[in-house]
Symmetry: C2
Subunit: 218 residues, 2 copies
Amino acid sequence: MNTLSEENYLKCIYRLWQDKGQKISPTAIADALGNNPASVVDMIRKLTDKQLISYDKKKGVELTAQGQKDATMIVRRHRLWEVFLLEKLGYHWDEIHDIAEDLEHIKDATLADRLDKFLGFPEYDPHGDPIPKANGKMAKRYSTTLADVKVGGSCRVVAVRDTTSQFLQYLQKLSINIGTKIQLLEKITFDNSLVISINGEEPKTVSQKFGESLLIDM
Amino acid sequence: MNTLSEENYLKCIYRLWQDKGQKISPTAIADALGNNPASVVDMIRKLTDKQLISYDKKKGVELTAQGQKDATMIVRRHRLWEVFLLEKLGYHWDEIHDIAEDLEHIKDATLADRLDKFLGFPEYDPHGDPIPKANGKMAKRYSTTLADVKVGGSCRVVAVRDTTSQFLQYLQKLSINIGTKIQLLEKITFDNSLVISINGEEPKTVSQKFGESLLIDM
DNA sequence: AAATAAAATTAGCCTTACCTAATTTTATTT
DNA sequence: AAATAAAATTAGGTAAGGCTAATTTTATTT
Ligand SMILES: [Mn+2]
Ligand SMILES: [Mn+2]
Ligand SMILES: [Mn+2]
Ligand SMILES: [Mn+2]
């Protein structure tokens, strides 16, 4: 069984691998976790000994089959708890991530499966991220962002790429939720700012960073 | 905020204080937690510094007002999660204690209150222990055991004093649950064994230890 | 009151998971 | 190719929360 810290590293490596598909370096992990690179090197040794990752200066850090399995199950628990907190306990979507960050580490052979059943086997979490099934499979992850939409085009919000409360609360203020319709009216060439209409309302301007953080379906 | 270990010590001291009402010594705590007395002495120092307990060789360990408040809220969370696991996720009553032992440490300002509301503000947990309210108050704790019943008398099971799976599974085997009616047919004077009838069925013999572990209402 | 037993405490170690500072290796400029 | 910068690693340290073994204090017997 993995410790809390080991689990957080596995999940972090899994996320970096999914997000970029690029070489995962000790510094990348350190940045993502807010830890010192020296600490990361320690943990890389530990996880390598446990055969959960492999590390090669050329290829960077990679999850082994077992590491991938373990990471997927942590993500599964995280997202299921998020659904529970939002749907059953009435939290808002900017409050659930941090609590799920702790709940995901509760280990019991049947807990995740029971929770899954209790929640009605949800496909996506409240942020639009797919929830891995017990067998590790999961629905497709969205990848097109608002920044990819062509001027004049319309789209529907399906997920967020950033789950910080700063971003989620900003969305709240703009009345944007999963499912909200957005039309791209104009792209400011100077800094790629986007002029959008939310649910057909009056135009608002948002930054490129904002656009890249909203996942959409055309 | 208290660490996981500090919380487990607080809860342990709280339980010892409730159970015996006697002087709580370092060895008693060590026994209860399965830790070494030397480790307990370390933690006594730490909790004393944090003003959560007081320690006097004569009077033993005592919770301060704050320590009592903290301990009560841990117990609240533990028992609420137990109700959740049993009622919502369908666990049996011998499986929930260990999982709640971890869930009780999840800290969020409103989590316990939301869970309480979601569960319909239960008064007792699945083992018959009263659940502290948000203000710290709770329903009465039962204290009469099956061993206190007079021969010929009848009673109803209201709680268990032992939550080990050994005991709970034994109860399961005997078809005893919260609410089960038991009649005391005979008390063997040799070793205080009890001959009982469960729900009017044929007589069964149980030990004194068994009788002292079942809390009842006459 | 001594002797003995039990409980409490101290001293010194260990592991986990972090850290800083120094050094070495690898990449990027010039 | 050197020089420089960045990344990775090593060395050594810290705090939490355990441990064992030795010692001191307190209780219980004789
Ligand atoms: Mn986590
Ligand atoms: Mn999420
Ligand atoms: Mn616990
Ligand atoms: Mn209970």
